[in-house]
């Protein structure tokens, strides 16, 4: 039993959301701190709720190892050692585990599990097309990520699984991946492809396709494709069943989606698009996290007037300030220099204010408002160790 219900949460906080769900899928455009946010949420759940939490990154760029300060955690789940927490001055009540997705390894494992016999298994693993699919193919990555999530969840080892995903345009693929895989294996075209070669040219319906395909790809390549699909077909039922189960898991009540964005116009539009897609697919939009938001002191209108007047009167101010500065350090009395510093301070304030005000405007235009809407301030340092993740985590928590 997860120990997570004794916190102050409930509806409307990340605390409550993470205490009541079993799967949290973090999604959003690239460059908004999604991976870090997913890791921070997992750290918080492990530390505060006393749960056994797994953070699983499916991102090809392997950023989670960086974010957690761990090198080389691979496809296998790996416990973040208590010493690491102790070193950061944190006493976790639960356990934090992490894993990254190695697409090739996960595909191999899937084939070993699903293959009807040893011979089919070996032939598939040795097939050149299979090796290409497993190694490179982007969408196979999306599918295998969902498959892996399903597998881990079904094993029931964790109270909470936090999944990081590729950027939104891919994340849509990632939502569609199980269905697409099922469609793929049930398609008529696939059956065409695995028709024995001789009967192809006899069949009136498929003849034009084969004529063109032969000319484009060459007969040998088509034979490779056929062999691959014939082998794969032996796993047809397994794949279709599995894809459907994975799809069901995503729309299950125990699963929620957290959309991460910044308040920059382009990422925010993408995030909104994704949030709308979730809603229209009847998936649970648990929260929107707005990251890297500039501090509120940049938005004061009194400060604007002050910055303007300091900028205009920098020389006069510098002369009057000079005694106070030389009192601190006698070498700092150069009034031109003081004036330049004052001018830069004022200019810099006005510059950042433009950005800060636009952020608030973007926020007010947000078209989708979920139960949990969290704003995370801009941190002036990178957050990639446990302490940093806690700092971020505390911001999203209540």
């Amino acid at each position: 039993m997860p120990g997570g219900r004794d916190g102050p949460g409930g509806s409307g906080s990340m605390d409550g959301l993470l205490a009541t769900k079993e799967i949290v899928v973090a999604c959003g455009p690239g460059g908004v701190g999604k991976t870090t946010t997913a890791a921070a949420a997992a750290v918080m759940a492990a530390v505060r709720h006393g749960s056994k939490v797994l953070v699983l990154t499916v991102d090809p760029a392997r950023r989670l190892a960086d974010a957690l300060g761990l090198d080389g955690i691979g496809n296998t789940e790996h416990r973040v050692p208590d010493e690491a927490f102790r070193a950061a001055g944190i006493k976790p009540r639960g356990q934090l585990w992490a894993a990254m997705l190695d697409t090739k390894e996960s595909w191999d494992a899937l084939i070993r599990r699903q293959a009807p016999d040893a011979q089919t298994r070996d032939e598939i693993l040795a097939n050149p097309l299979y090796q290409n699919i497993a190694g490179r193919f982007v969408q196979s990555h999306d599918y295998i990520a969902m498959e892996r999530l399903y597998e881990i969840h079904a094993d029931g080892d964790y109270d909470l699984i936090v999944v990081d995903t590729p950027p939104t345009r891919n994340a849509l693929d990632f939502l569609d991946a199980p269905q697409r895989m099922a469609d793929f294996f049930s398609s008529r075209l696939l059956r065409w492809l695995i028709v024995p070669y001789r009967s192809r040219l006899v069949n009136v319906a498929t003849r034009p396709f084969y004529q063109i395909a032969d000319r484009i790809l060459g007969t040998e390549f088509l034979a490779d494709i056929s062999e691959f699909f014939i082998l794969f077909q032996s796993m047809y039922d397994g794949f279709v069943d599995r894809s459907e189960s994975v799809g069901r898991l995503l729309s299950d009540r125990r699963t929620t989606f957290v959309v991460v964005s910044t308040l920059e116009a382009v990422p925010l539009r993408e995030a909104e698009f994704f949030a709308e897609q979730l809603t229209s697919r009847h998936l649970h939009l648990g929260a929107i996290v707005l990251n890297k938001v500039l501090p509120s002191y940049l938005r004061g209108s009194e400060s604007t007037a002050l910055a303007q007047s300091i900028k205009d009167g920098a020389s006069a101010l510098a002369a009057e300030l000079s005694p106070a500065l030389t009192a601190v350090d006698p070498s700092l009395g150069d009034t031109d220099q003081i004036a330049r510093v004052l001018g830069e301070v004022a200019d810099s304030y006005l510059n950042f204010q433009v950005v800060a005000l636009r952020e608030m405007e973007e926020r007010s235009l947000l078209s989708v408002i979920p139960d949990v809407l969290v704003t995370v301030p801009f941190f002036d340092t990178d957050l990639y160790d446990l302490r940093g993740l806690m700092r971020l985590g505390e911001q999203i928590w209540d």
Binding site: L189, Y297, L317, E344
Partner: protein
């Protein structure tokens, strides 16, 4: 033309792929590069690989399709569409005219492409390379997939070569490879920001480009570089200014609470400092022969033609024009 300094040879290329981690301004840089080249009198095509992208928006032009359209003087834009590309491919290279609906064939092709990665990529990469081969443009800029996926695109002709032994598609990969591998013709530009993760990914990308493709990394564009507020001595003045007495004096003289201004300046200084450590890592992680181009942070958070023009101007300066 009487230039004193050496100019970066980037614009001498005829095919430039622009990639980068999501959110670093990849499309902004691709759009700005194409705009700058067109302003220099080159006939330019910008080709957007992601059909859901919005390159046209960066020029405030209506959305583009597979057919190239002149959206600014000398600047043409198109959006990749695999089905349309297949149709064109069949007609131009295989002399198979496809009349009427291509839907079923494209769908069939989709399945083949699903089984044989590289086939779809060939169509995506084939179109811009074809435009280069036919010399329809002086420069083709490709707004390529993000750094995680661009390798698959650039390595596709080689992958197909290894996978497909005979057939027309095989014979097509030879000229694709030839153009992609020619470092005087084709180059890759990686965009990043001076932040932890983008720098890591760029360093990783540079190594993979070298190991897994024949394409040359021609430049790394470092986007959103913050201005340096203070020199060394000025920084000492600033540090003294935030001490209790001088800052109280400033409040009194200026007639208001200058605290937020000083806080903001300190934030700007810290941000710049953190970023410069990442820049150092970038310089160490990238082969010294790859030029780094720096673009300033724009304090607008706006986007559209005005921003694209600003970035194009900065890029031009960095290129030595």
């Amino acid at each position: 033309m009487g230039w004193a300094g050496p100019m970066n040879p980037l614009l001498d290329l005829r095919l430039v792929f622009v990639t980068g981690k999501g959110g670093v301004g990849k499309t902004t840089v691709a759009s700005a590069l194409a705009l700058f080249a067109s302003q220099r009198g080159k006939k330019v095509l910008i080709c957007e690989v992601d059909a859901r992208g919005d390159v046209a928006g960066f020029y405030e032009a209506p959305p583009t399709g597979f057919v190239e359209k002149e959206i600014l003087p000398n600047l043409f834009a198109m959006t990749m569409d695999t089905e349309a590309s297949l149709r064109e491919y069949l007609k131009l290279h295989l002399r198979i005219p496809v009349v009427g609906r291509i839907g079923p064939l494209a769908k069939a092709f989709d399945f083949v492409a699903t089984a044989a990665p590289g086939v779809r990529e060939i169509l995506t990469v084939g179109k811009p390379v074809y435009e280069v081969r036919e010399r329809h443009y002086d420069l083709v800029v490709v707004d390529a997939p993000a750094s995680g996926h661009v390798i698959g695109l650039l390595a596709a002709p080689q992958a197909i070569n290894n996978l497909v032994k005979v057939g027309l598609i095989r014979s097509q990969t030879d000229w694709l490879l030839e153009i992609l591998s020619d470092h005087r013709t084709t180059g890759l530009v990686a965009v990043c920001t001076p932040e932890e993760m983008p720098v890591n990914e760029t360093v990783e990308l540079a190594a993979r480009v070298k190991d897994e493709t024949t394409v040359q990394l021609s430049a790394v564009v470092v986007n959103r570089v913050l201005p340096e507020l203070f020199g060394r001595q000025e920084e000492r003045v600033f540090d003294a200014l935030v001490a209790p007495e001088p800052s109280a004096k400033l409040d009194e003289l200026a007639g208001g609470d200058a605290g937020p201004l000083l806080d903001a300046a300190r934030l700007a200084v810290t941000m710049r400092r953190t970023r410069s450590t990442h820049l150092d890592r970038l310089r160490q992680g990238i082969d010294g022969s790859v030029p780094l181009l720096y673009l300033p942070y724009l304090f607008t958070r706006s986007h559209g033609l005005r921003t694209t023009r600003q970035v194009a101007a900065s890029l031009g300066e960095e290129l030595g024009y």
